[in-house]
């Protein structure tokens, strides 16, 4: 509470200079206030470090509680980054009739390319499709046992222009009417589903994050309450010799701050470590989809924000505990 004063080894000055009342100027008070902040901060830090096991446990608990929603949020960001690159040009997949030959299919592709409302087409022959399916699906054995290729030819059609949804729908209707086309599928529905799924996930992350923040506050509040309990006698003495509530409160607020900041650092490290752990398989997966996708991490600012958030939560949690318990401790 008072901090351990560093006593300078100076020669003791005179004895009591009369019984004059001690008066301290405003500037001295400010200096003393700063000094007590420094002392409290250092003393609280010493106490945190002096109990490494329990401190690391507290940091880990807070770190995990913060890392969970943060990690989920980073994952969502990555998914939305991924989906936004698919977003705009909706694609129409034309599955051709079984009997359609390669030549006829290429001819149809050329016809479609002539249409003003078609920007681009890509032909995937049934053989190519089978190859691709074999590599990606892992059903190679099953596929090998089939007598014939069950897959149809496929033409991927990208609508021209900004591709308003209605235009894309009209185009799909048109294409469906071609006799060679078995089925025209507008690949937009899954995108819409993905988007609403993302929205749902975002809300879930928010809710989980909110709950965990409350949890962090309670954990910190409890930790600080225990710290207050263990120093009850000291608090009484300080109040007896004229310590104000602010003076008594200060070291506990700093304790909360250190726990929170440490928790934030742990959370940032946990998130970074998980991303590092996932980086390799994800870039492999992206490679399989011919995607240049790279996992996007927290970044320096994200980490810093996490530490600041931890610190704020630490202050808030200890403030809750201090407000509840310090007033109860009065000299008896």
């Amino acid at each position: 509470m008072i901090g351990r004063l560093k006593a300078t080894r100076s020669v003791p000055g005179g004895r009591r200079e009369g019984a004059s009342q001690s008066r301290t100027g405003l500037r001295d008070r400010y200096q003393a206030w700063l000094q007590h902040h420094r002392l409290s901060a250092a003393d609280s830090m010493t106490r945190v470090i002096d109990n490494p096991v329990s401190s690391v446990m507290t940091w880990l608990v807070i770190g995990i509680a913060l890392a969970l929603p943060t990690g989920l949020n980073v994952a969502l960001d990555n998914v939305s980054q991924l989906s936004s690159s698919w977003d705009s040009p909706a694609q129409i997949s034309l599955f051709l009739q079984d009997g359609v030959s390669d030549d006829r299919a290429r001819q149809l592709q050329a016809e479609l390319d002539e249409r003003p409302d078609v920007a681009e087409t890509r032909f995937v022959s049934r053989e190519e499709a089978l190859d691709e399916f074999r590599t990606l699906s892992g059903f190679a054995d099953v596929l090998a046992s089939l007598d014939s290729n069950p897959l149809p030819h496929l033409i991927l059609v990208s609508p021209a222009g900004a591709a308003a949804q209605s235009a894309a729908l009209a185009l799909r209707e048109d294409l469906q009417a071609y006799p060679d086309v078995a089925q025209a599928v507008l690949d937009m529905e899954w995108l819409q589903r993905l988007n609403s799924l993302m929205e749902l996930s975002r809300r879930l992350v928010l809710a989980v994050g909110g709950l965990l923040v409350v949890g962090v506050l309670l954990i910190l509040g409890n930790t600080i309450r225990l710290a207050i309990e263990s120093r009850r006698e000291e608090i009484v003495i300080v109040k007896l010799v004229g310590g104000s509530n602010a003076f008594v409160r200060r070291p506990f607020l700093y304790t909360g701050l250190w726990y929170g900041v440490g928790g934030g650092v742990f959370a940032a490290v946990l998130v970074a470590a998980s991303l590092w752990f996932l980086r390799q398989p994800i870039s492999e997966l992206a490679g399989l989809y011919q995607s240049e996708f790279r996992l996007r991490g927290l970044g320096v600012m994200g980490g810093l924000n996490l530490v600041i958030l931890g610190g704020l939560l630490g202050l808030a949690g200890s403030w809750l505990a201090v407000a509840r318990h310090l007033a109860d401790i009065q000299p008896r």
Partner: protein
């Protein structure tokens, strides 16, 4: 310096700790308060420190009516009063130096001033060489002297002591009392609650006697 005007204190359970006590204590006085345990000695001291408020009557300390001091003003009020406890109430995980420095740190003195004053106070009670020691390594008498150094280091106008010699043998008790007399001689108002009649009657100071919360002797100075 301290005046009680028909002060009564009744606790919630109906016990009367003080009944209509009126006492005036002058600036340069050293006064003993005596009486059996439960007679109201401690309650009297606690009221001066604002650890307790009267049910009726008023208390004036250094010209200020304590009824006008709200809970926010209590710390400032206490900084002007030095207190010595029977069980000394030292911080056991801090050195002697840090214990004595506590009131100065709270009052906000810079650390050079703190060091100077703490050493002066420790010198006064004869413990200058023990400033680095932890309180548990000291004897009972030494611990009490650390408590006294802490009480006077802020140069208070008033020094209160509740059974300061309660746990000490007669020789040490006399030494402690002598210390209080020395502080009184430099102008500090000293109020000591004690039931050690044999000791205090030898010292020729005014003695206030309480019995069951009533003042029975020593009220007028």
């Amino acid at each position: 310096m301290i005046s009680f005007d028909r002060v009564s204190k009744r606790y919630a359970e109906g016990h009367d700790a003080l009944r209509e006590v009126s006492v005036n204590i002058g600036k340069d006085e050293l006064v003993f308060i005596t009486g059996h345990s439960g007679a109201g000695k401690t309650t009297l001291l606690r009221m001066i420190m604002l650890m307790e408020r009267p049910s009726r009557g008023q208390v004036l300390v250094d010209g200020q009516n304590l009824a006008n001091i709200g809970s926010r003003g209590i710390p400032r009020h206490r900084r002007n009063i030095g207190v010595v406890f029977q069980n000394h109430r030292l911080l056991l995980d801090r050195t002697v130096f840090d214990n004595v420095a506590l009131p100065l740190v709270i009052a906000g003195h810079d650390h050079r001033e703190v060091g100077r004053r703490v050493r002066a106070a420790l010198d006064k009670v004869g413990l200058l060489k023990r400033e680095r020691a932890m309180p548990v390594t000291l004897s009972g008498g030494e611990q009490q002297r650390v408590g006294i150094a802490r009480a006077v280091v802020g140069k208070p106008k008033i020094l209160l002591a509740d059974e300061p010699t309660g746990n000490l043998d007669p020789g040490l008790s006399a030494e402690i009392m002598q210390l209080f007399e020395e502080f009184n001689q430099v102008g500090v108002t000293v109020l000591i609650a004690s039931h050690d009649l044999a000791l205090i009657s030898r010292l020729h100071h005014r003695i206030i006697t309480l019995r069951d919360g009533r003042l029975v002797a020593g009220g007028k100075s």
